[in-house]
């Protein structure tokens, strides 16, 4: 459970690598610093891609909620 209200929700369900990460990057570009993005995806690879790329410090991963095959990624723009 992630206790935060997202500012933007992005549907990336059904998309597989590399589209989820690209759509997230594109969405984050349009957002202001400190805003929270909720991305809803189904590709298990996205979890690792987001975790790995946060080292770039463009965003902070607040949490991942796993509901069946649905992943909810809470991402805060740095």
């Amino acid at each position: 459970m992630v206790d935060v209200t997202p500012d933007v929700t992005l549907d990336i369900k059904g998309l597989s690598c590399p589209m989820p990460m690209l759509k997230i990057k594109k969405q984050l570009k349009t957002m202001n610093s400190g805003q929270v993005l909720l991305a809803l995806g189904t590709d298990p690879g996205t979890k690792n891609d987001i975790a790995r790329n946060r080292k770039k410090q463009e965003y902070e991963l607040l949490g991942i909620v796993h509901e069946g095959s649905l992943f909810k990624f809470y991402i805060k723009k740095s």
């Binding site: 059904g14 998309l15 597989s16 690598c17 590399p18 690209l22 990057k25 590709d43 298990p44 770039k56």
Partner: protein, 406 residues
């Protein structure tokens, strides 16, 4: 806590580590190199194209395009590699609870068709997929691996630009995604059934009177090991080329570079000692065939979202997009390969019969240890190239100079 309870917890932890957690990229790189050397010592190098071609040949034979029936899918080492690999990936995905039928939006299905065709044609031109014509080509000390490497980088950058363009300009075809889930217990049961099938298959092969079929026992199990470990680490070589330009992350690139060095050293020992013929995975595509093949394959792989083996393990975890791409990969590759073979565009006959290396029109055959480099120099060249790649990738991780901006 009782001793039995502690042991029980440790068993659970071990199961989680082996079957559920995502493996570290470098660990998978070492395992893939180890299994690649092992399969070579057992019989032959591995790749994804052999399976694709055999399956494509069967389809084209079925619809009357080809006159002669191809080898049985269970009696062709390339096909057995593909079957073992997908089975291993399926086993990993089900034990990890990651198997689901993921139906992509319509646009992704269209991209899958195009991607499959490009990858099939590219692999035929380059003399293999990213494994057969890059990873195991350099690993087998053949220069055509370097030609495809160059092509792959160009194709992947082009493919990435195409995906950026798609995100800006294509607005239709984004709906229709659906995921069909399976309960965790059922997944484990299905995985166990496949594991039993793999073991039973290996025993059936081992009990055959035919020496070739006996060899298939190890081929099936080692390929399953490759599929299992690559799915568990979500190890996709294409990411090694793509990520430095997309996100700047170089983790997979570094893991692939390490793996190529290990496999090259292992196979140098095998070939230099005479355990296997040097001709394995030396192809006459060191030239425009390798480069253009790499460009088409890399571009196609970007649209598919996976390389040759990445497509297979993603198919094993239920990604329908790759289920669509694979048949088109198989059929286009089968058609192109048959055409090349009929006209001997690669010049294989001249190479094998007369030792002429440049008779073909796709490029030339160049087994690096047969040049002035020898085995030592070849390994220095390969290690040097991988060190260079590593340095470029880590420099880019800090500087982001090679990242294409959205």
């Amino acid at each position: 806590m009782s001793e039995e309870r502690i042991l029980g917890n440790k068993v659970k932890e071990l199961y989680k580590t082996l079957c559920q957690d995502e493996w570290n990229a470098y660990t998978v790189g070492v395992i893939v190199a180890f299994l690649s050397v092992l399969i070579m010592a057992w019989m032959r190098p591995w790749g994804a194209m052999g399976a694709m071609r055999n399956w494509g040949d069967w389809f084209l034979y079925g619809i009357g395009c080809f006159e002669d029936a191809p080898k049985n899918i269970f009696n062709n080492s390339g096909s057995v590699i593909g079957i073992g690999f997908i089975a291993g990936a399926f086993l990993s995905a089900t034990l990890g609870g990651q198997f689901a039928l993921r139906i992509p939006p319509f646009l992704e299905m269209v991209k899958a068709v195009l991607a499959g065709c490009l990858m099939g044609v590219g692999a035929a031109l380059a003399g293999g997929c990213n494994v057969g014509a890059f990873y195991n080509a350099i690993g087998n000390l053949s220069a055509h691996g370097f030609a495809m490497w160059l092509g792959l980088v160009i194709g992947i950058i082009g493919g990435l630009k195409c995906l950026y363009w798609e995100m800006e300009h294509v607005t239709c075809g984004g709906s229709g995604a659906k995921t069909i889930e399976f309960p965790g217990a059922l997944q484990v049961l299905l995985g166990m059934a496949v594991l039993v099938g793999l073991i039973a298959g290996a025993y059936a092969y081992a009990g055959s009177d035919d020496d070739y079929l006996v060899k298939m026992s190890g081929i099936l199990l080692i390929s399953a090991g490759l599929g299992y470990s690559m799915q568990r680490g979500r190890w996709c070589m294409l990411q090694g080329f793509r990520e430095p330009h997309m996100t700047g992350d170089g983790t997979i690139a570094k893991a692939v570079a390490l793996s190529v060095v290990l496999v090259a050293v292992g196979i140098a020992v095998i070939k230099c000692s005479g355990l296997r013929q040097i001709e394995y995975y030396v192809r006459g595509t060191f030239g425009w065939g390798g480069v253009v093949g790499g460009i088409l394959f890399g571009f196609g792989g970007m649209l598919a979202g996976g390389c040759g083996t990445g497509a297979l393990w993603r198919a094993g975890e239920g990604q329908i997009k790759l289920w669509i791409a694979i048949p088109f990969f198989a059929i286009s590759n089968s058609l192109m390969s048959a055409w090349f073979k009929q006209n001997d565009y690669e010049g294989i006959r001249a190479w094998l019969n007369k030792g002429i290396t440049n008779e073909g029109s796709l490029g030339s055959f160049l087994y690096l240890p047969e040049t002035f480099l020898g085995y030592g120099g070849t390994l220095v060249l390969i290690i040097g190239a991988m060190v260079m790649w590593y340095l470029v990738v880590v420099w880019n991780e800090e500087s982001n100079k090679l990242v294409l901006k959205i």
